[in-house]
Amino acid sequence: VLDRAFKALVKKMIAGGSPHMRALGMQIVTLEDQHCVARIDYDPQLVGDAMAGVLHGGVVTSLLDSVGGIAVMAAVGMRQSLATLDLRIDYLRASTPHEPLLADVACTRLTREVAFTSGRAYNGDRDDPVATMAATYMLGTKRLPHALGGSKS
């Protein structure tokens, strides 16, 4: 079970540590052992097709990549320096204008070196996804200072 300190650390990381997650306005909805749900509110700056008001595919990519990374850290149980190896997104439908975008990603397998994830992005209804994703991450690409939660010793 994740301790409260870890959850607080991840929230702090989003709020203060990762400028891009902050720029997107990303917020954690739930954080469990190998699993993370986060959301971003609709923002006209993040639109790809101004005619339709639909979020840019890159925003969906950013959110899923970030949430996948957090799900991996949750599986490891502490903050890790990760590098995305590979990320596949299938765009199933356009994101609904003016609605928040949520992403739900699970770490499906964790090895010493590599973590596998799969997830989806959606507006209101988790069963009507905007996109599905599969991504792999390399673990421990760089040691982090203790202050950032990279090491417990």
């Binding site: 840019h56 995305t84 997104i89």
Partner: protein
Amino acid sequence: VSAPLADALRALRAGGDYQRVLSAIPYARFLGLTATLQGDVLTTCMPPAKRLIGNPVLPALHGGPIGALLETAAILELLRQTETDRIPKPINVTVQYLRSAKVVDTFARAEITRHGRRVANVQVRAWQDDSARPVAAAQTHFLLRSAAKSGE
């Protein structure tokens, strides 16, 4: 709301103004993307900015904006080489992250591997100071849409 992009696409057809298309895409503006056409080669650039950083310790750019740069470079290349008068819709994108991306100018160039009437396959590469050392690559599929055809 529909005017800026439609105008930008018309201007693109008339005079090759890629920058105007980028400024009609809000998220491309948010990322600060620029595009330059030299001869027959279109290069999209994402200048460094604090809000694009994913890991402030290294520091390294976030993978998301790199994916968005690759996707946008593919879209611009499709606009350049096809007759589509709307922004092509991505079907899927597979991004390979090859190196940690530093907080410097990141460039991307796309190549249309195959394009049929409805679907195009586009490969994109991104690099920073050395074009022989890519930081990321993407394989993408897009649905081509034309306003001339209705019912899509």
